[in-house]
Assembly symmetry: D2
Homo-oligomer: 357 residues x 4
């Protein structure tokens, strides 16, 4: 499969179908000598997995990983790190009805047309289960970045029309509630909305915002591989994402330059900007301020309602609303957004080592 590798120096290659033998990732370019915490990796996987709360899919996936290579005695060897998660809670019979149907706003039709064949079980390769691989790799990237004091944290900033209406500075409570919104009052509203949506057999969209603190000046390659360009690609490669903005984002459109420009000031022996509409990136290169961006996710396409569609012969069929699915993707998207952001940052941090003589 083309386009299955991400990153230039810190790079990952993933594999696996939703209901195949295993999901996995090969990480190349992770520097030798990094101490890797298996507990942190499992924690990230657990934040992604279904069944973790009342507002996620009730599927049970243990998602226990097995390291096949590249780490010995808890440290990276500099060699490829291969990690797999074997698939266990498979119920192929859940998918028999879907052997020939094209589910609306899913990838059944496009996969069939592109490849002439597809694994229909749980969406096969198009399933968001593929992100297990990203989360494992992203966890290692986060651990690498942490050695430099760079932290990557995401949170839910909007569900349906319920949104955080003020900037968030304290992200310590993100995992304290099921929806992963750092403001408890807003979180409660979001959870209420998701529960009501679920009760109606429907789904709803949301946004995830990511904050990167401690990013050094100089990351990003300023023509095509601008830091924001690689972040945008990373985010738009996540299942169900529909939009990306960084810094002021779409909010910059009605603004004037005189209010949007970020004034430089000297702060001790450091240079910083007074405002941060730039989202920590200027000319594609990090400027030392916080990097932040937001990703829009559509409502999940699988409904607990009947839907009309057609099958691969063009015949009309009715999809029954059953199975085990999420009413809203954003709570589980938080660790995925973090993982992809960390992969981009780790890659650019390493790439930046060869920029000067």
């Amino acid at each position: 499969m083309a386009g299955n590798t991400f990153g230039q120096v810190f790079r990952i290659t993933t594999f696996g179908e939703s209901h195949g033998e295993a999901l996995g990732v090969v990480i190349d370019g992770c520097p030798a000598g990094l101490s890797v915490s298996a507990a942190e990796m499992q924690s990230d996987l657990d934040r992604r997995k279904p069944g973790q709360s009342g507002i996620t899919s009730p599927r049970k996936e243990a998602d226990e990983f097995r390291v096949l290579s590249g780490i010995r005695n808890g440290r990276t060897l500099g060699t490829p790190i291969a990690i797999i998660v074997e698939n266990k809670d498979q119920r192929p019979e859940d998918y028999e009805a879907l052997t020939h149907a094209y589910r609306p706003s899913h990838a059944d039709f496009t996969y069939q047309q592109k490849y002439g064949v597809r694994d229909h079980r749980g969406g096969g390769r198009s399933s968001a289960r593929e992100t297990v691989a990203r989360v494992m790799a992203g966890s290692i990237a986060k651990q690498l970045l942490a050695t430099e004091g760079i932290s990557v944290k995401a949170y839910v900033s909007q569900v349906g029309s319920v949104k955080l209406d003020k900037p968030v500075t304290d992200l310590s409570g993100v995992d304290n509630n099921a929806v992963r919104c750092p403001d408890e009052a807003t979180a409660a509203q979001m959870i209420g909305l998701i529960e009501a949506t679920k009760a109606a057999g429907d789904t709803i969209g949301g946004t995830v915002t990511c904050l990167i603190e401690g990013c050094p000046v100089g990351l990003g390659e300023p023509v095509f591989d601008k830091l924001q360009a690689d972040l945008a690609k990373a985010m738009m490669s996540i299942n169900a994402s529909k939009g990306f903005e960084y810094g002021s984002g779409f909010g910059a459109v009605p603004m004037h330059g005189s209010e949007h420009n970020d004034e430089f000031v000297k702060d001790g022996d450091k240079i910083r900007t007074v405002s941060n509409h730039s989202g920590g990136i200027q000319g594609g290169i990090s400027n030392g301020m916080d990097v932040y961006f937001t990703v829009a996710f559509k409502p999940v396409a699988t409904l607990m309602q009947n839907q009309e569609t057609i099958d691969d012969q063009g015949n009309p069929v009715v999809l029954e609303g059953k199975g085990r699915h999420d009413p809203c993707v954003v709570p589980r998207a938080v660790p995925i957004v973090e993982a992809m952001a960390a992969l981009v940052l780790a890659d650019h941090w390493l790439r930046n080592r060869s920029v000067k003589i």
Copy 2:
């Protein structure tokens, strides 16, 4: 410079500083045997160049291109196509005051920090003049796609708070007005807003929307190189862009799945969807419907007002508002968005040739 090549099969490598000898591009992977119209290339360059109307920078750049290799007798040879535009209207004295100053929301500071050196004249490599190279390559990509009936057209959909409030289906009039908005009444408002902004020595943001018609089913690689992911990267690599959304975009967030899903129907012997919230892409692969997306651009950072900032020694300096600059970037961004979209499509169209046995 890392990150200076874009595309996998149809790929471009660009070079040039704003006030250096020349801007240029090397196009690799363009199939042999394509008839290339020099007039179309020049037309695209002319749509990008400054001085084309009262609402763009009054700089005069002839932007005449010279093909150094790869095209003979009007047809591509299959070999690298190198094209340059020599820089002529250079006024380095305009930039002397900027030798040491860090202009707000520009890349002066980040380049200096990253490389330890920079060409301050007109922003050097960070200047949007670099997009000359993209437009030349994109014009050839558009001509390649046209042989397959694929058209790539962009237009201005918003300036400040003035926005197109209805979907546009007829793009024939895009170039009939200076702002490149296909609705004349809205265009007039936009132009008025830009002129007022310019008169105040200020600048304003905007959005460009792009419509790809005739896109075949099957383009896009469904994990990391999803069609929307590569489009997002392409767009976020354009100077001054702040956000990207495709299909329903951020508008999907408050929606329910039951209204957002695109129902499949049989239409003659073709399969299509009734609505197109998917923006023509499902699972990262084009589904045969129109592909469309919108890009947000910030207000131009160079103002015709004095601004306070600091220099590379950390001393406060005042930037005088002078020079020849655009009050709003979107009219000239239209051909750049088209170029980058065409490069992505051409690349994926060629990549798709090896997908099946």
Copy 3:
């Protein structure tokens, strides 16, 4: 680990340490719809594995593979194909003495210096056991090429000073003897030489020649990715290889152009050359004639004799000659050479699909 992916369109990424959990490969870009024979894959693995004859290492490795993704019901899905072989016959105690010693002409010293850490067990990642991954992927590449009538076959052409002194046209008997030389008389001499060398606790070099029949005209990208350049890289990436030549090779050096040039003639409606000093490649592109090349392998570095060396503290140590090793690498290198050649050919065959409009 950088440089761990091979190929552009048909591309592989491998992983695994010699005595880690598993060896494996991820194959990307294999077209959908290919029927894959597991028996052929196992047969290639069996030709590579130790313990297959009296002149190879007596280690017992079952080398049974497990497909984790990408193949369903015997056909490729177009998604990443992940395959692993778990390590079973591990005797880490065999390697304890090597924890700190730098074995002569092995990679112990360079790995330690480069990464600051290494898995000393059986050479870790530097072990030729890594080629298990290549052989699995190469077997699929060979099956892909076979659908086009392209065959890739290698044989032993020299062991020590015993060499085939005439061109070989019939390769059907290659696997009939332990050394994989298609001429039985020469094979017997080679086997005798290897047995004598083994009895002396020593090792010996050899060459493998590869013949690609049915190669269509047009494969190879004519500047840096010339067909011979990619074949050379592929071969020189195999453990213990020391040289590569194609067509007339080093034999061309003393020749005059008037005898070396390959005259073109018309043969029915086909064009061919009378001689084939070009080895089937002109200007980096296959010309439709047989492609052939030869790879030199050094004598195995591990001896059954005591050797003096130093350890990672710079202290002198004596390596005892023990363990389970090959006296000559070439019989087992045959399937590896085939695999790497097939990977190059499959990649270029797919790349060539986008060369013309």
Copy 4:
């Protein structure tokens, strides 16, 4: 054109047809802050150009380069370095007879088949004139390596059957004679042989050996991008090369391990090997000893004799022996071999910066 970029971090993209407007190169990834000597670049170009002595082609090509971007005030900016050489001494009438003929052992036939079109003038893109671009880039790579004390020097080691029969340690006199052999007596024999060959209207093969001194330990990525693998690809991508060997090379084949192994010893506080059959590379990684390798070149295909061939309609034609060509390619290949080796080394030197935490 696919395969037209070489290198991962320090990477070049070349363009240009032999008789087109210009030859050129874009260098990406050269670190910022390198002082570049234009005189050294011109000197390398002069060593490559025809007409420099009685044993090279009498064509006159000034080969004066023009830097279009990336270098300012003699130092690299970190941005893409674009350099061109305009073509001047063009005599297209020399090539009219070749519009339709397929010259033996040239790329006319394969280009025509692959692309369906070709620029027949002087071989177009297949001409060795393309190496002008490599030499310019290689000169900058050599200057980069020199800042680390790494030197890359090549010399002619064989012409026809005349070969250097002893190892060469002093390369200071390489450019003192027209054939670029460091031993004057052998050089005289080689020159005599080339002159006699030229007088007969014929051509002859040769070898170039390259010596890299001062190479630090640790360069090379030990699976597919082994240092010797990338060197082999680089060398086999040069026009007319037929073989590559490093260290003991093909000479290792008849050797036993007990004589071939390079014993490690402590030398002060450094570790080195007593012999250097490894050619300075073990496990794909440089070990701090001298790296050396040899490249075989075939006799030039263009003869000053009549040759029979066919044209693109399959009709027999006779090529007349005329034009301005080299009787032996190796004297001019010396700077090309150096350039390609320097590009590989510079790339791996930069790649190695991200190997450890």
